[in-house]
């Protein structure tokens, strides 16, 4: 079959590889219909997440149909149309029992990496480096699905493949960000990053009762989507002083809930930009935390900072004094997809939110490099490149 493999920094290639097979009793094989790029892939592409090996198949946000199941898979059968959660969960450990699925003790096949880096191993994720399990990803004609009954969710009749696709990752991730923000009715919510996850966080903030939602980004076409689709107010950080603007917009009080949907490769301006790029280049910090710093500074006293953009290692110049003295609450984590996906599929089925608009470029697997570069460079108003192996 064809698959898009990571080959090195900013280099992917489409290769012919063996078809996947069932390796464990709870596995299934899915024929992939649609598989999206994700902003977090850019950290892999940029070489900021270690533990990538040349030849790794990438991709983690996808949907398709079941073509084969292992002997312990009872609730799924050949032909089921499913959306697949990007995060793997065993279902049996303490953390899965608490519905904190991305903290699963058991689903990471190579737990030594994160055990050493973070103290304890975290869950496996498709196509997201050997630190997160080394599982072959979804930019392929077929993908092996571990713990298939926990990982696959049947798509309701009437929901198109394009609408279902983003309930794999972007929508539940954005929804969790809004959920973790602890939004109370009428709250002002600010979302940094108007990419797929950020836009879904904006829709979710409305669903959870926000009174006002503000988006921050630098790309006019993305802010336009935020304005038109998510119906939020927008700020371009290239044009305004964000901290002053947010104060002015909230009568000097500051936003109640601040959501970081950007993560470790934030863009910024001025001295801070030069400082973070230089330190990251010299590997003195792994992550450029400009958004996180700004969210902490912007947040009102006693507010919440919710972090869903991915960080991998250490950050520098973290304004702990502001966070502590303002009494902020922090929530963060990789998505607990299994907790949210059924609910979000219902929301999509009822037409309350249709994430299909994120799909701006549908491409064949042969267009891997082009698809990623368009997404990375934000050319052609690209929101998400989505690979459709069957055309």
């Amino acid at each position: 079959m064809k698959a898009i493999c990571w080959e090195g920094i900013n280099k992917v290639s489409t290769e012919t590889v063996p078809d996947p097979t069932i390796l464990n009793p709870r596995d299934a094989i899915v024929r992939v219909f649609l598989s999206s790029v994700c902003g977090s892939d850019l950290h892999l592409l940029g070489g900021y997440i270690p533990a990538m090996r040349a030849g790794d198949i990438i991709g983690h946000e996808f949907m398709g149909e079941i073509v084969e199941v292992g002997p312990e898979v009872k609730k799924l059968k050949k032909g089921d149309r499913v959306v697949v959660c990007s995060v793997l969960s065993c279902g049996g450990c303490e953390f899965c029992q608490r519905e904190e699925y991305s903290l699963c003790d058991n689903s990471n096949a190579e737990p030594e990496w994160t055990e050493k880096a973070y103290g304890y191993p975290v869950a496996g994720i498709f196509g997201y480096s050997h630190a997160l399990g080394g599982y072959a990803g979804s930019h392929a004609e077929y993908t092996r699905i571990p713990f298939a009954e926990n990982t696959c969710f049947k798509v309701p009749e009437g929901v198109s493949n394009e609408s279902a696709l983003f309930t794999s990752d972007a929508f539940p991730t954005g929804y969790m960000a809004a959920d973790f923000a602890g939004i109370e009715p009428g709250d002002t919510v600010v979302v940094w990053g108007a990419g797929g996850v950020g836009l879904m966080a904006m829709h979710s903030a409305w669903l959870l009762g926000a009174g006002r939602v503000i988006a921050i980004d630098q790309y006019p076409y993305r802010l336009e989507q935020a304005l038109l689709r998510a119906k939020v107010e927008v700020l371009n950080f290239r044009e305004v002083d964000v901290l002053q603007a947010l104060k002015d917009m909230t009568g000097g009080r500051g936003p109640d809930r601040c959501i970081d949907c950007v993560g470790m490769e934030a863009n910024s301006t001025g001295i801070e930009k030069i400082y973070d790029y230089a330190k990251q280049y010299a590997r003195l910090q792994n992550d450029r935390p400009a958004v996180l710093r700004q969210a902490i500074m912007a947040c009102r006293k006693g507010g919440t900072v919710s972090v869903i953009g991915v960080y991998g290692g250490f950050v520098d110049k973290f304004p702990m004094g502001a966070a502590m003295n303002k009494g902020l609450t922090f929530r963060m984590g990789q998505q607990f997809g299994q907790r949210y996906i059924p609910k979000l599929l219902d929301i999509v089925a009822r037409g309350e939110v249709d994430p299909a608009y994120l799909l701006t470029h549908k491409l064949s697997l042969d267009m891997g490099q082009e698809g990623y570069m368009m997404f990375k460079e934000k050319t052609n108003n690209n929101m998400r490149s989505v690979f459709a192996p069957a055309g």
Binding site: E15, A54, G55
Partner: protein
């Protein structure tokens, strides 16, 4: 070890499989075994310090194999020379590791007590068979030559359960004269707040080598600790997830290997 008075060649005659397995290793000379042991320990230690790399991992494993081979080789010599090594004063490799498993204590205990289950999660065990009473026969896999990656061979020994308290504790010890002298104890206790069972395993290997053995033990202990820890992790995964997650055998764009 337990056989403070036993000096004769052990019960191989009663156990042809042990002898058969042992033969594979007797064509390695004494010097070779010393080199195996010390080189293996050094390799394992070196690998251990770099264990977050693939190379480091394989060094650790390779080193552990070599030491096991060195240890078993010396045991064979000692048997041939009818030397009692039990009181040579050498330090053993002894490691303790714990894991918490979200399953009731009786279930966790029962799975372990059925010794035939051990190879399902202990990486280097091929087979354990209960042979009646408290005795059991153990077979482990070791590579004959780590450098040339010559195929795996096996070593075998017999062990006896020394103490058991239902749902709380099991301890065992290899019978006198075993190729790999070893013992172990596993303690099962309730975890806090209904979080299942804490399993604490202590595993000992005894290299009868005096100073060289002590040195090797010091160097090697971290590697053995990692092996025991990984075995316990697989045990947890098998019980909680019903299977041990793997990527070995999956597809990738690498031509030389698939995982």
């Amino acid at each position: 070890m337990a056989n403070s008075t036993k000096t004769s060649a052990p019960s191989d005659a009663k156990n042809p499989q042990t002898q058969e397995a042992g033969k594979h290793l007797t064509n390695v000379g004494t010097a070779g075994r010393v080199i195996s042991l010390l080189g293996g320990a050094a390799l394992a230690y070196h690998g251990w310090t770099k264990k977050d790399t693939a190379v480091g991992k394989s060094l650790t494993t390779a080193g552990a194999y070599l030491v096991l081979r060195g240890v078993s080789g010396f045991c064979a010599i000692n048997k041939a020379l009818q030397i009692d090594t039990a009181h040579s004063g050498a330090a053993g490799f002894e490691v303790t590791s714990s894991v918490t498993i979200l399953k009731p204590r009786n279930e966790v205990y029962q799975f372990w007590r059925q010794l035939e289950n051990l190879p399902k999660f202990m990486a280097y065990l091929e087979e354990v068979k209960q042979t009646g009473g408290k005795r059991s026969h153990w077979v482990a896999k070791v590579p004959r030559n780590i450098v040339t990656k010559e195929k795996l061979t096996t070593i075998a020994w017999d062990a006896e359960i020394e103490q058991e308290e239902k749902n709380s504790r099991i301890s065992w010890r290899s019978l006198p004269g075993s190729e790999v002298e070893n013992s172990g104890e596993v303690i099962f206790t309730d975890a806090q707040a209904n979080l299942g069972t804490v399993v604490q395993a202590t595993i000992s290997y005894h290299p009868p080598l005096g100073i060289a053995g002590e040195l090797a033990a010091k160097l090697l202990n971290p590697a053995f600790k990692e092996l025991v820890k990984q075995d316990l992790r697989r045990f947890k995964r098998l019980l909680e997830a019903g299977e041990i997650p793997t990527i070995i055998g999956q597809t990738s764009g690498r031509k030389d290997e698939n995982y």
